[in-house]
Amino acid sequence: MKVLIVDDSKAIFLMVSQMLEESGHTGVWAEDGQKAFEYLSGNNDIDVILLDWNMPNMNGPEFLEKNLTESFTETPVIMMTTENKPANIKKALSLGAVEYIMKPFTNDILNGKFELVDGLA
């Protein structure tokens, strides 16, 4: 499985990539929502998107809103963020995120969330 990790923290990207590799998956890095949009516009190889909330240029909710209006990808989006207030979680789900990972998390949580998303297990 190929996973687009949209996060402005390189440490998070490296850690999640390492977790993915341990489970036989590959991580691709986009530093913000805009970069993720650009990657998805030119590539059709991503199985799932892990999306941070707070990022420069285009943040997580802005990325989801853009996809709601433009439908540039049907790839499932799982939020992966330190924003863990119920209001924020509900907002992201209403904007089209299919699952939600609250940082911090562990490898088994990441894999468990994949299992909860249709078509990924």
């Binding site: 923290s9 390189k10 440490a11 998070i12 490296l14 850690m15 330190t82 863990n84 207030k85 119920p86 979680i89 509900k90 789900l93 699952e99 939600y100 990972i101 609250m102 940082k103 911090p104 998390f105 562990t106 088994d108 949580i109 468990g112 969330k113 909860l116």
Partner: protein, 280 residues
């Protein structure tokens, strides 16, 4: 004083203690001094993740302002846990798709009594409640729920229904977290009182104590037998049998079976999971 991990790089006790305390305060996970070697590989992985040169630099970094992402990375790499909501999934599907319909078929009226016999910190009994609430919301008021464990510490946690951010992400879909839990603080979530109040929690030693007679319609006793020798297994199985109502079901853990044991319980299989039934 320092612990030598290699001739070139030593990690001081001060550094180990700093990170052990940080991890304990934020996740409850304990690293005692004798366990510091387990922390070592984790600290070294932080060096790589933050593209630094040494654990000392990581220490300097975390002594400054810890950003949410730095916090996340440290907790992520430090913790491990084995308790899940909806552990193995099928035992909870079987509840709503097989056990309840079968019990309702053979049972005219009356209360359905459920017992989570090795409840640990409560994830199982709350998963049972959530499953039933989704499929049989009207039935909940006609059911009783009991949960026992040998550990008071685990039961205290179960009673409160209080879980940290890692606990509530293990096996629990986000939609159910939103529906059945309240956020108490940044790191803590609590099962809503309408659920915690439904469960009678009590300390119980499955080997030593007297079981109620013919009381339960459904017993979950998962991952208990696997740790027992044959005589103890037989003892527990006999006691469980006697505590089940005719027509009642027993759910064991994945991989647990009655091989080598004598029992009047009948095997039934649904979705590749074997459950055991006392004849109606």
């Amino acid at each position: 004083m320092s612990i030598a991990v290699s001739e070139k790089h030593e990690i001081s006790l001060e550094i180990y203690k700093f990170f052990a305390d940080y991890i304990y305060n934020h996740s409850g996970m304990t690293y005692l001094e004798k366990d510091y070697y387990r922390l070592e590989t984790r600290l070294r992985s932080l060096v790589k993740l933050f593209e630094l040169k040494s654990v000392n630099e990581v220490f300097d970094l975390y002594q400054g302002s810890v950003t949410p992402d730095m916090h996340a990375v440290l907790i992520n790499i430090s913790t491990n846990n084995e308790t899940y909501f909806f552990r193995d999934i099928v035992p909870f599907k079987i509840l709503t798709e097989y056990l309840i319909p079968n019990i309702q078929e053979t049972k005219a009226v009356g209360t359905i009594n459920v017992w989570s016999a090795a409840a640990s910190t409560g994830q199982e009994i709350y998963s049972i409640l959530m499953s039933l609430s989704e499929k049989y919301p009207d039935l909940l008021s006609k059911m009783t729920f009991e949960a026992s464990d040998i550990s008071c510490e685990a039961l205290d946690k179960a009673k409160l229904g209080l879980y940290n951010g890692l606990d509530v992400q293990r096996g629990l879909p986000i939609a159910q977290l939103m529906k059945y839990f309240e956020q108490l603080s940044d790191e803590n979530w609590q099962v809503k009182q309408e659920f915690t109040r439904k469960v009678n929690f009590f300390k119980f030693n499955l080997l030593k104590e007297e079981y109620p007679k013919a009381k339960y319609d459904i017993i979950y006793c998962r991952n208990v037998l696997i740790y027992q020798d044959m005589p103890n297994k037989q003892l527990i199985v006999n006691k469980l049998y006697a505590s089940m109502k005719p027509g009642g079901y027993l759910v064991l853990g994945n991989g647990e079976s009655f091989i080598g044991l004598e029992t009047k319980l009948k095997r039934e299989t649904f979705n590749n999971l074997t459950v055991y039934r006392r004849e109606p």
